[in-house]
Symmetry: C2
């Protein structure tokens, strides 16, 4: 079953949205895809006919097993290409997302697998997100939101909550990236900011908004 670029983008968005919440609503999807709710309704019907998702009018949508499998293969391609761009072509990790949005739709299965070999079967993309293998499996690292970590804990950044240019610009400025190790020093009640100490570096303050966008694992 061959999907159009548009269909693939819908499937992928639903996949990401249904991780967080249960059923994905029409409005959520419209926002995420920068389109209108009416257009989403049309597409949901179409994808339902292709057995990629279960859709109940007014109740939102979830991917079927098949839909999830398709989504995982698109995510696999997206993250492999991002790794390629950073590791081989010297792109910055904050400039690869847009390009990968196009590359992920190149259809050759052989290309994906040969690319994976060429890259040495990487397990994580440049943003710290796990790369699904050919069967759709990915390593599960227990991740915590930085805002929930108790003072005194040593953690390592393993992914970021979005790929927005604004966020990545701020991270670059603060010298925080994937695999940066940091000690949580203190949490301030007033503005929910967090004081941290980056390994071999000075103490800095992280705003509530930034802390909520950082995911870490215990080291």
């Amino acid at each position: 079953m061959n999907l159009t670029v548009t269909e693939e983008n819908y499937i992928k968005s639903i996949f990401h949205l249904q991780q967080a919440e249960g059923n994905v609503s029409t409005n959520e999807l419209a926002a995420s895809l920068h389109t209108k709710p009416a257009s989403v309704t049309d597409m949901l019907k179409k994808l339902t006919n292709k057995n990629l998702l279960n859709y109940i009018p007014y109740q939102g949508v979830r991917l079927t097993k098949d839909g999830k499998k398709q989504a995982l293969m698109i995510v696999r391609k997206h993250r492999l290409w991002e790794f390629f761009l950073v590791d081989k072509l010297q792109f910055g990790w904050d400039e690869v997302h847009e390009v990968a949005e196009e590359l992920e739709h190149v259809s050759s299965k052989k290309l994906v697998e040969k690319l994976d070999s060429f890259l040495g079967h990487p397990k994580f993309d440049p943003h710290g997100d796990p790369i699904p293998d050919i069967h759709g499996n990915m390593v599960a690292v227990r991740q915590f939101n930085l805002i929930d970590i108790k003072p005194g804990t040593l953690v390592e950044v393993c992914s970021v909550g979005s790929q927005s240019a604004e966020l990545l610009e701020l991270l670059r400025h603060k010298n925080i990236g994937i695999s940066t190790e940091m000690l949580i020093m203190k949490k301030f009640e007033f503005d929910h900011s967090v004081e941290i100490k980056i390994k071999n570096s000075q103490h800095i303050n992280i705003s509530q908004q930034l802390a909520q966008a950082l995911f870490v694992k215990l080291v």
Copy 2:
């Protein structure tokens, strides 16, 4: 000016067809793009409005300066990706064309230039065709059709007349590839076949059809 994938494919086809002949006809284009003449007429009007080609009804079409420039950049991407697939991902030279047909439409300019650097600025693709540089210039190697070479001449294969699977299969079987050196031994009037001797190998016979599909340079 951003072109759709379809528009890019039209521009590229016209570019290739107008190399050989003068004006490109509607029917030729339809055949080359596996579409119908009526569809071609529609698209020619559209591309004319975008100033990419000069179109006179019933008289065929030629690219404008701008159209040619666009075409060269698509060809550049196509051939760079083909080189990448063969040189880095270990694809066979006979299996890269289809994949490159998709990759050539990925739009990031930065990607093309970084890919070019990563590959070491190759001058020829795996089929021996020259890769245009960022300004659209490509090295011109004087090429001859093997069928026109006089006996006694030493030549080197530098490109093939088509990328058909059938042709590439035969070449693989005869152990002929890009940069294969061969001495032209004798031409037979009866069937216009050619006897050649591949360097460090035995004498073999090349059919008229095959000789017409091989382009060589003098060494």
